[in-house]
Point group: C2
Amino acid sequence: MKNAATRNTRSSTRSLDSRSRRELARSSSSRKPKATQRTSFIRASEDDAQFVPPSKCQCESCQLRTPSAAYQLERDRIVASRFNVLKEIDQSIDDMISDLEQLVMFQSISVEPEKLLESCRALDWMANRLTDLKFKTYDYPIADNPSNCFVDPHQKVLFAKYFSSPSKNTLLIYGHLDVLPVQIDCWISDPFKLIAKDNLLYGRGVTSGKGMIVGWLQAIECWLKVHNDLPINIKFIVDMLHEVGSTGLQAHITARSDFFADVDFVVFDVNSWVNNINPIVPCSLTGWAHFGVEVRGANKNLESGLASGLVYEPMIDLCHLMNGLVNDEHEIQIPGIEINMKRLSTAEWHLLESAVFRTYEYREDLFVRRLRFEDNKVEFLQNRWCKPTLTMHGVEGADSHPGCRRILPMKVMGKFSIKLVPDQEVKHVFNLVKDHMRFLKVELNVSTQLNVNLLNGIEPLSWTMDSKLIKAVCRAVESVYEKDVITTHAIPICLPIANVLQKLVNKPIILLPYSKRIDKHHHENESIESLNVSRHTKTCAALFAELSTLRPKCKCNVLYQYCTLRGVQEILDAERNVDLNKVAVEKKWYQFTQKAASSDDHPTRSRARSTTYTLKKYLLLPFRCKRKIKRRHTQST
Amino acid sequence: MKNAATRNTRSSTRSLDSRSRRELARSSSSRKPKATQRTSFIRASEDDAQFVPPSKCQCESCQLRTPSAAYQLERDRIVASRFNVLKEIDQSIDDMISDLEQLVMFQSISVEPEKLLESCRALDWMANRLTDLKFKTYDYPIADNPSNCFVDPHQKVLFAKYFSSPSKNTLLIYGHLDVLPVQIDCWISDPFKLIAKDNLLYGRGVTSGKGMIVGWLQAIECWLKVHNDLPINIKFIVDMLHEVGSTGLQAHITARSDFFADVDFVVFDVNSWVNNINPIVPCSLTGWAHFGVEVRGANKNLESGLASGLVYEPMIDLCHLMNGLVNDEHEIQIPGIEINMKRLSTAEWHLLESAVFRTYEYREDLFVRRLRFEDNKVEFLQNRWCKPTLTMHGVEGADSHPGCRRILPMKVMGKFSIKLVPDQEVKHVFNLVKDHMRFLKVELNVSTQLNVNLLNGIEPLSWTMDSKLIKAVCRAVESVYEKDVITTHAIPICLPIANVLQKLVNKPIILLPYSKRIDKHHHENESIESLNVSRHTKTCAALFAELSTLRPKCKCNVLYQYCTLRGVQEILDAERNVDLNKVAVEKKWYQFTQKAASSDDHPTRSRARSTTYTLKKYLLLPFRCKRKIKRRHTQST
């Protein structure tokens, strides 16, 4: 494995212009001590936590209220760099593979507590990598899940931020480095060693967290190489407990909500391909409601040899009650459960119809005899995505250990969850469940005490597909895949942490397509097309550029003196030591005249469009340029 | 707490005759090292384990083939001592209370693994106490239950034996020293401190193991004081894991089956009073069959967010299947389940009818709203004792932890048990259950795989009430309680270890009545009438005497040179230094002539009976006596 130092040297020698080479060499030489190196470069306020939000923007120099020439110049530079970045990504495939190789080697299986140290090491690797990429990183211990009783090493989460400029949008990227356990004998090669074979990359985690995060890292690295800065501000949450439900992260995010105050968008990678041709940008998330049906008999557990047959047993009553939730075909029997459900549109029906999904493959993969609705693909996929479904998870309080215990449990809780889809509501579904259980209790003449609890509930989400944001995302994806992107509500993604983050930070969610349906997602012999990995990296890079075109909002109302913060961009501008105003005016003028000339050269173009274009451009020009044009016009006429 | 040394001194100063005082003092002084002391007294073969069972008795001096005078003399001495022993018990109440006090102080709660050390200490106390009573003790570690992962101190079992003579019966006593957990705030006093109040003894364990074992200890001590020997040979199994199902003991017993080779009877104390007036000697044990209904779907657990609604869920199918086992009134729905059940006789019906059992008290004690058959006492008690009942214990393999896990379990096992009553058979019931589950699978159109397993099965037992043994037991109980004893099959006792031991050693079981229904058995504020404790001690003592009257069987076929083993009795005889033959002849002669004289004094007695008596006695007399009588007769005629 290459260590951080060699990586740093390598990237510095490859940087494009002398300025950035100087910059990177300086940061490399001053890397120890780490803290100094970080603060020497990024001047983000250390005491974000103590800000007093002003009622409105108080900064005189707010770039967003009166955009300066530097701001305009940077936007142009980003447009100009974008093409080079994508080209750079094509040339950095080896770096990307090297990153993925190192990440795959960590056996960060989060469901196996004894592998916690591996997860921590993966997180440290990530922190080093981000530090090299001029990020400021923080890792926080997370409160343990009571059922996992490991103490040291402690489970952690990594936060990181890169602050380029107050006049840029901020993107929050969620990534995770933990993987599912492996059945080692089912793998043709070592699951923790990246193997490239027939244009496929094999290794645990390549279709989930590890593969995704490599894309972001490489996109950032290439932007820094080409542009010496990022087109947007970026924040990271890197999780190591994703596969065990990110326990504790929710509480931690809530406690550190100041970190998210300036976030404009949140992005998640998802595996949402349907037909393997058109990438999909889903615009909805499923929710869920987790219920506990508590049935209580006597005030203590009894010995079955003594009390069997004398009391009404809670476990038997629970069985009767749970039985009434679903019929023999496993259809939910709770009246009214589908009332608020969004119906499929014709387009959505056709999308599901066109899905590359073979139920028999799914069936064979799971080794089951029969699937629900296996003869009707659309019905099957509707159940998969757009309809509420019920799962029984287990029973708490009853005998769950191997062997025979003669205990007659006197307080048991049956646990089931219902997947919610837009536009269902947790509260409404809870009421339906309560009513149904009460009805069953009366109908079955149950004597034991019944209590229906909502153990956890997350509302499903959906958002408009016509927003500027979604359009920008689609542009980014389309520019890479060169296929029409499908935006849809028909494929709500099940990503609990996304619902939680959305609720907490109240920011739009971007769901970016990652591995295709033909990739072996989460399977044994997990693999992904190498092409898909590099495409994902390009999508990430393109997304940065696209998001930079969206008009940012001033964050002075949430982050004290946000607009007066000095970011990377300002330092670079100062280093360039150019009269920004003069440069900007000259450049705008040049562009405008060039455009005007080229529009005159094309007589086939309609006059109306040309005028609109000119007028729009004219309005966008700074005042000085306008004066120049006016003068020219008066001269020519 | 008094230590073993002071106890020893106390008992030795109280012993009745100088011989035994000498004996005990000697054993006390030579108590260290223990091994020497034990072997100096009891000459039981050390290598019991290596015996080669001969085809028939090979010993020339077999007491049982040709009973010697010493054998006859001992039987007479036992009869003579019995009254004194009961008197001695009345005078030793304080000793008994002191024993119980010490035992109650051990917090030997076996369901709490952290209290294991306390249980071990209780067992050590017991071992010391038995050593003082001339027992040879052995403690063995027992294989841990895999679910209890404590390693040291290790769980143990105590075996002990007292070998008086090869011509005496051997009784195996099962006792246990562990108790149920306490809810400390529900007790009016410290549950681990014996409190005497209003003729009641309060303390955890007084109505179960600890109270019972004290009775046996005191009965043995008093017999040794009065008789300097025991009327029978005694073996002990002292368990410390009774309340957690004696896990591991069954395997250990099987492995050490040589220990039980010479056992004639096995005795258990049970709480089988029905009307609080007539003691009950039950003649049956319930059995049980523990089933696991395994339902299997895919080859791995799934994430409910991804697979919910697509597969037929094992947990839902299990719920449907288990639901078909019992109806809403919790009646077993397995066809034919009651076919082999023994029906109640009229006498048995009347016995249940007369039971002092108030269903409302039971209901209030458990804090439940309604009991099954609470308006019909006989029906209720029939369900309690004489009818098969079904209990659902829980589900293995499903989510049983607090909190919400989004797992869709793919292999679950529902566990239930059926209580079996005489004359049901485990195998037959297993077949019925299998057939019913298969029927339900077809009826409910279940697609997941079903497997019905018999996890554990113990046959129910019942034995004749007319045997000499049961009559002897009844005589013992009646002599103490002075009430008619009821023997019945209508109250099968639920005592799993008894079924196991019976099956292993294949010896008759004696179920001795202990605490009454009004005693608070296993409850908080557990208490027992002091009178009942002393009565139990007397019953134990009387039982020793009664069992000694039953003709013992020679064990040479199972225990090599059994008849030539020297026991306590032989040593004592040698110490007494009397010509046993002469004594025996003189005594027999004296008795015979006395009887003959007294029968002559009663002219009301029928001549026939008197002749029979005389003839019977004559036949029983040793040859020497007969010659004397003959001589006398010839002289007188």
